[in-house]
Symmetry: C2
Subunit: 337 residues, 2 copies
């Protein structure tokens, strides 16, 4: 099975967005300091000022799992953490977050729970929940379904922006563990687990060691803000040459977003044990190996390219996995199976 079989056609999105690129760039002036396709947009209000870094995202069809579990207070936290990670990979610390919540019919219980999730995520990241919008649109959303979108704004000093330009051959590549699927690949995961395998959210397949399918799928997206602060504190800001958040597009599409031309990030996929949930999806859905690493994070939510003098593996609490090194080469990323 492939991602497109689950009703999500990445290629159509890519072609449509390619057509829109010129329109997007037509709105830019010298204050925009990033290009299309970066994890967060960089904006410098005036010369010499710190850069504002902003990113918008959703949690995909993880909202449908939340709905089926009747658990509404974690998806907001997922979204905040996702957004925090998207600007963190450019070196930014979060300032504030704004949420959008839309549903077919508003009920008094779901919205406060969703907002509590946003608030928890914001508190844990020291980020203000500065605004929000709620919409009730029965003609647009299917009955009882809802969607979330969130926008984060943070900032970073111009000389501390991380954009991968510092990456060099010989750098060490590390992976930091994810807590689960985070917020990507849910359409494929749901199709495989609920349709092909026929599980209910409350089923506890042996492979998951007593955890229900729903609980495993709703594990909260990890914020790597604390991990990065610890790394920067221990080794200095300059030790981190590049960061990739492994979101939609998995290893294959996200790592190249930060790797300079002519360099290749080597990833030894045997370096860590792929968590049970990913293995279950791959097996039950007969999903090809390459497809798995294109859709899912496979247990590694953040890739850190660091100066070779730095040993992240020795830092307690980080769980950093040595994935490989940076070499010269035409492909920005190479997965060694």
């Amino acid at each position: 099975m492939k991602y497109a079989d689950s009703g999500v056609n990445i290629d159509t999105a890519v072609r449509a967005l390619a057509r829109a690129k010129d329109a997007v760039r037509s709105t830019w002036d010298e204050r925009v300091r990033s290009d299309v396709g970066s994890f967060g947009g960089l904006y410098q209000p005036g010369p010499g000022e710190p850069l504002l870094v902003a990113s918008v995202d959703g949690v995909g069809t993880k909202v449908m799992v939340a709905h089926r579990m009747g658990r509404y207070d974690t998806v907001g936290q997922d979204l905040v953490n996702h957004c925090v990670d998207d600007i963190l990979v450019q070196g930014a610390e979060p300032m504030f977050f704004l949420d959008y919540f839309a549903t077919a019919t508003l009920t008094e219980d779901v919205l406060p729970a969703v907002i509590e999730g946003f608030a928890r995520g914001c508190r844990e990241n020291g980020c203000a929940l500065l605004g929000g919008e709620t919409a009730e649109m029965p003609g647009v959303y299917r009955e009882k379904e809802f969607d979330l979108a969130g926008t984060i704004v943070g900032r970073v000093r111009a000389e501390e922006v991380i954009d991968g330009r510092a990456i060099a051959a010989g750098d060490q590549v590390w992976g930091l563990p994810s807590t689960g699927l985070h917020t990507n690949g849910y359409s494929l995961a749901r199709k495989v687990l609920f349709e092909t395998a026929g599980y209910d959210v409350h089923d506890t397949p042996e492979e998951l060691g007593g955890v229900s399918v729903g609980d495993a799928l709703l594990a909260v997206h990890k914020s790597y803000l604390g991990d990065l602060r610890a790394i920067w504190k221990a080794h200095g800001r300059g030790a981190v040459h590049g960061l990739a958040h492994i979101t939609g597009g998995g290893f294959v599409d996200n790592i190249p977003r930060v790797v300079p031309a002519g360099l290749c990030v080597q990833v030894d996929v045997t370096a860590w044990e792929v968590p049970a949930l990913f293995r279950l999806i791959g097996e039950r859905g007969s999903v090809g190996r390459e497809e798995m690493y294109r859709v899912f994070n496979m247990g590694i939510g953040l890739v850190v390219v660091a100066d070779p003098s730095v040993d992240l593996g020795a830092m307690p609490g980080l769980g950093a996995v040595e994935l490989g090194t940076v070499t010269e080469g035409e492909d920005a990323v190479h997965l060694q199976f």
Copy 2:
């Protein structure tokens, strides 16, 4: 007919949001300089710095009219202008905007048109389209339907924030004309025009003077940025004491958001001619007079409370209507029918 009859229950939203207020405030520290319910959130990154002003919004079920008309390149512009106005009323100039577009099934034609609308809105307001997210969620959205959300970030110097505190008895109240329904009241408008009255989007009722129902409904939300710049240039920043964007909640809910306790904004609703589209909705739907002014902008998209020495009516191109004055009183707004 009332707004609640169209499937949108404002009271449920208000109660649910009241429950969530404490959670929202739990994420704040001294950098947050606005309270719940302001048009945009105010955030001061550091002492003495300009304030960032941010707001998130959607265009409601105006997206369904766009879909029925097969016209996808204006709703993005609506959303940008709506967001620009939401931070303008606090004195902020826009810097950048991020969009979220989600739909049941992505097609190659709709998304580029929507983004072109965002880009046009951004260019016209000197605002960068800094980022965006696209999601395909067939299980969440009804077939062929889509939704938009957008977040704007601008800024204003601390001493130039407009929050209504400068409003005093004797101030003059002005209205600037809207271009149509802007982005509010579409669920009620659609129910009245398409269900009760039985119009098709392409029908041209005599009352609309040759304009189709769909064209009238899709008239683009006006950005008041140019008008305000002209007012500030002619009369100085201090001449404007308060601004209210007449969005969801109409005159009744939006004007009180900026009026200090003990003062009352008098609005003589006979001071301007209500445009034909509003009259058509009110008549065909037998919508009560008070309900109309609670749901729709009725032809006035921005209310300007200004120093009595300033004559906005004399400024060419503004179309400013004299609505009344500010008096002492318990009700923040009083509509004189």
